[in-house]
């Protein structure tokens, strides 16, 4: 590469400095090979969208965007809409965030500030990471046999005492939207706390010291200095968790009750999410039902895509570099 082209060909010692053609070809080939796989990742992502859209095409033609606004899921008449599932997806994810965000940020603060000596802190961080490693289906079976029986009396009490509030207006039957929300909260908790903690730890100590030096208490420092500085990371983490909650399948399918319509505004109703609908019906479906399920999968894909792109954007755009 750095050879001087004017070099006389008789300069034999210089010849050995030049790498052989095969050598250089191999380098180029290696670059191309890795590049091909690199672009392959983009191809896989596009491939998912294209393949799912292709399989969904008959349903897209048949129902158009009205698919998202109709809650009729009727294999007998062959008419399909996923409004009920869309509602279930959003509501369960929202309940999960409502529970997991404050607790997750609390944990992140607890584990990033100097509340605990490192010796105690590290195993605790690890334990919360393990919470993320437990398979979804295991949360599911635990949810069915442990969480639901545990939640039942609480739900019944809420229904009897606050039944006049639409949110608690239906009698709990065991599985339901509330159980799905609870189990999702447990599952996204480690994501929120891990990403928030990373963001909090990244805030430089000097900022903290400056705040303490001005006489702020620990929590004044946390609320007015550290959290604002780590805000983009925390919000990005919450968005990622939201995407995760919307796409989560197995645990939700096992505890949500799998009813394909919206009966009321109550969280004790049984419901379904797009993912749980797919898990329940895909293997036995055919024809327009199958392609409607694919349409549902495509909607879910774009829904999580939007949420994740926003998360990416927030994390990249607003992260302050110190």
């Amino acid at each position: 590469m750095t050879m001087n082209p004017d070099m006389p060909p008789s300069a034999a010692p210089m010849q050995s400095w030049r790498r052989s053609d095969t050598d250089r070809f191999l380098d180029k080939a290696f670059l191309w090979l890795t590049g091909a796989f690199g672009y392959g990742v983009i191809a896989v992502l596009l491939g998912i969208a294209v393949q799912v859209a292709k399989a969904a095409w008959p349903a897209i033609q048949q129902f158009g965007l009205g698919f998202l606004a109709s809650q009729r899921w009727d294999p007998v008449q062959n008419i399909y809409g996923v409004l009920a599932q869309l509602y279930g997806t959003l509501v369960t994810a929202f309940i999960a965030l409502l529970i997991a965000v404050p607790i997750g940020i609390g944990i992140a603060l607890f584990l990033s500030e100097d509340f605990l000596p490192d010796k105690v802190k590290r195993p605790l961080v690890f334990m919360i990471e393990l919470l993320a490693a437990v398979p979804s289906v295991v949360y599911g079976i635990w949810g069915v046999y442990v969480l639901i029986p545990f939640l039942n009396p609480v739900a019944r009490w809420l229904n009897q005492t606050f039944g006049w509030i639409p949110l608690f207006s239906s009698a709990p039957a065991g599985p339901g939207i509330h159980a799905a929300g609870m189990i999702l909260a447990i599952m996204i908790l480690p994501i929120i706390s891990a990403i928030s903690r990373d963001a909090l730890v990244a805030v430089p100590g000097s900022i903290r010291q400056a705040s303490y030096g001005l006489g702020a208490t620990r929590w004044e420092t946390i609320f007015k200095v550290i959290i604002p500085a780590a805000f983009s990371g925390i919000v990005g983490g919450i968005m990622l968790a939201l995407g995760r909650a919307m796409g989560e399948t197995m645990a939700v399918t096992l505890v949500i009750g799998n009813s394909n319509r919206i009966s009321s505004a109550s969280i004790f109703d049984q419901g379904s999410t797009i993912a749980s609908l797919l898990a329940n019906q895909f293997a036995e479906a055919g024809g327009l039902q199958l392609s409607s399920l694919m349409y549902g999968a495509l909607s879910l894909f774009f829904l999580t895509l939007i949420v994740n792109v926003i998360a990416e954007y927030i994390i990249r755009r607003f992260s302050i570099k110190y």
Binding site: D23, L26, D27, F30, L31, T34, G35, F37, G38, V41, I42, V44, L45, I48, V52, A55, I103, G106, I107, F110, F115, F126, M127, I128, E129, L130, L131, A133, V134, P135, S136, V137, V138, I141, W142, V144, V146, I186, L189, S193, T217, R218, W219, E220, L240, R244, M246, T249, M250, T253, L254, A275, F282, A283, L293, F301, T304, L305, N308, E312
Partner: protein
């Protein structure tokens, strides 16, 4: 803890008044944060406790040798599902590990040099892929493999899982390669090594422990995932003869048998859940141990 706040400023008349609203608020919030951490540990302990209590009592070596039972009767076993899990995750690993590592080499070794926008795009695609719901990966593998081959199979399940594993492997391998000091590369190139030699013989070996960690985390995740295999590998009551037929997996077995009213199948589901959790946590802890030792 709040006491130490106050104590830290002792002397010189700067002592904090523990009953002033500011300090009081601080103390209360400290308690709240502590409670949050305790609250988070409860589900972990509760899940592990029930999995151990309910799973361990049916666990025996026989479970690994026998086939899933019909409703009512013996507990049978999950031998075929255990083999099926190894099979699907094995196929997924064979695809995603080379794919992921080669992508990581491109990202860390080549795309960075040229400051090219493609690095950004690939990086972006990896992050988005990580957020794609696993059930959508299942529908993708179904539309691609099951439709094409006309049968549910371990291969279809493996391909779905490989998409799931890919982002984790790319991310951790890229980080691992980037963590190798630049001086290694300069020394290698300075000695006249080609790019391919520099990467394959110098940089990659130095990054192997960290890459192994990433691969193990990806495998752990794939072992436990159900949604991608649900309608790609499907399920089977029998031993696999080939990789081109419906294949049982442990995770699908837990899902199927968690919903039935038959005690023997439920018990088998708990035992399978125990095996799953043990495998996954073992891989996670081992992965942690490898990084710890290196760091």
């Amino acid at each position: 803890m709040a006491i130490s706040d106050a104590a830290g400023y002792a002397g010189l008349g700067l002592k904090k008044n523990p009953s002033s609203p500011r300090t009081l608020f601080s103390s209360v919030m400290s308690v709240v944060a502590t409670l949050c951490a305790v609250l988070a540990v409860i589900p972990l302990v509760a899940v592990l406790y029930y999995i151990i209590v309910r799973g361990l009592q049916y666990l025996s070596l026989d479970l690994f040798r026998q086939l899933p039972p019909p409703p009512l009767g013996d507990i049978g076993g999950f031998g075929n599902a255990f083999v099926g899990t190894l099979l699907t995750v094995g196929i997924a690993s064979v695809i995603s590990i080379p794919f992921g590592i080669l992508t990581a080499i491109f990202l860390a070794e080549f795309a960075k040099d040229t400051n090219a926008p493609e690095e950004n795009w690939i990086d972006f695609a990896v992050n988005i892929l990580a957020g794609v719901p696993s059930i959508v990966m299942g529908t993708f593998a179904w539309a691609t493999v099951v439709l094409l081959t006309g049968t549910f199979s371990a291969v279809a399940g493996g391909i779905a899982l490989s998409v799931l594993m890919l982002p984790t492997i790319v991310r951790t391998a890229t980080e691992a390669l980037e963590a190798v000091p630049g001086s290694y590369r300069q020394a290698s190139v300075g000695l006249g090594a080609s790019k391919i030699d520099t990467v394959m013989k110098i940089v990659l070996p130095a990054a192997v422990p960290a890459i192994t960690t990433g691969v193990m985390l990806a495998v752990a995740r794939a072992v436990g995932e159900t949604a991608p295999v649900l309608f790609t590998a499907l399920f089977s009551q029998f031993w696999n003869r080939t990789i081109w037929e419906p294949t049982a997996t442990l995770s699908a077995l837990v899902y199927n048998f968690a919903q039935v009213p038959y005690p023997n199948q439920q018990n088998l589901a708990w035992a399978a859940a125990f095996v799953l959790v043990t495998l996954v946590l073992f891989l996670n802890i081992l992965a942690r141990f490898i990084t710890r030792k290196r760091g």
